[in-house]
Symmetry: C2
Subunit: 231 residues, 2 copies
Amino acid sequence: MAESSKLVRSTTAVDVARILRDRILSGHYAEDQYIRQEMIAQELGVSRIPVREALAQLEAEGLVIREKYRGALIPKLSLSEIEEIYEMRGMIEPYLLRTAFSNITPEVIASLREVVDKSRVTDDMGEWAGLNMQFHYTLYGLAGRPLSLQILENLLVRADRYLKVQRFLSNETQKESDAEHQRILDLIEEGDEDGAIEALREHISWNAQDLRRTIGFNDAAPADKADKAKG
Amino acid sequence: MAESSKLVRSTTAVDVARILRDRILSGHYAEDQYIRQEMIAQELGVSRIPVREALAQLEAEGLVIREKYRGALIPKLSLSEIEEIYEMRGMIEPYLLRTAFSNITPEVIASLREVVDKSRVTDDMGEWAGLNMQFHYTLYGLAGRPLSLQILENLLVRADRYLKVQRFLSNETQKESDAEHQRILDLIEEGDEDGAIEALREHISWNAQDLRRTIGFNDAAPADKADKAKG
DNA sequence: ATAATGGATATTGGATCCAAATTTGTTCCG
DNA sequence: CGGAACAAATTTGGATCCAATATCCATTAT
């Protein structure tokens, strides 16, 4: 973490990766469409080399699939993948909370209360999502399990694609989520470890159901590749 | 359509990554030593481009750390990392076994028995390790959870670095592990799902303890680079 | 007319070349 | 004799160029 004070510019490959990641997560590219390296390179004013490296990075994150000599394309959303993501979250997040529990100080709780309070009053969907992340990461960071946290981050990134499908969460969903955070926080403050973990499990399970209900597409439906009306 | 039958060569970047991965896992490079792109490129008779891409891939797997304009080096072994890996395994593997359970047919059990039998009689450490992998993957593949399986594979790759430190597992350790596989298999055959999962948990926990005992290095101890008695 | 075949075009993977930054070595000054 | 400043040499990141392969399209044979 000491490096963060060094103010080093990241490489352009990393910058390109971030830009492409944002685009993919916001649904900028169609699922059956190849991302052309030259096109990205010209758009961003760089050569194809950092674009290639960025695509390799995104492939490792599961956001694109690269086929040799054919290109990179966005993997199709699949109901089974999102189910799996939430199953994994249901394991990892409780594990991180349990591990973090003894490291949660009153100061942390106070700062989490601030986050939840801000979260409850904001109207900006982007800010809300950020606060949502902050709540979870503040907790999980205390577990001292960097590998698990990294895996979880990747799961959340993958899940983001599905969340962004709806463009925004309903106000009701946000309120419900805030209330659950509040409840988890209360239980933590009471020192009720098992209760807090159980509440977290329910929170994740509720998120999964909400997403399932909102999206509700059919995974098994064979995508007819016939109608690939290419431009 | 039928891409799998096309016998396409992989890219050289992937080849280089595989070679470097094998080298790293077999302890070929020292922890505090930078891997020079040009050196690898000359050794393998390729340019630096695929080497760079391979290093990026390995970084995503956690096998190297790349520092801008400085190079790639092997991250230090850390007791806390291996603890975390086994904690994760203790969650994911039981989850995969439980999910796979209803898909385990008598044919699968028969093939697993073959694997365990071969595993018991072999003297070759490499073959034993391969059979060990085969046993687990055969089971976990039936779960139909590709993302979890991929994450588990990465965890096992990371763990491999620690296992290879000792060059080989003791014969006693192998016998014990084989016996545990046998036991898990028996419980599966009896249809005792909970029992099999519990046995698997114990198996993983036992592996962790064995590794901890065998390696037993101190995580916080600053590695004196002096005693790097390399072969 | 339609399907197969061969060539033109587009696109990616890899090699070579150049720029940016870090490290090393040397010199000068205290 | 030691340390700081500066220069030379490694080394990596990025751009440009070439090769390998896939896709598209026209031509031809049945």
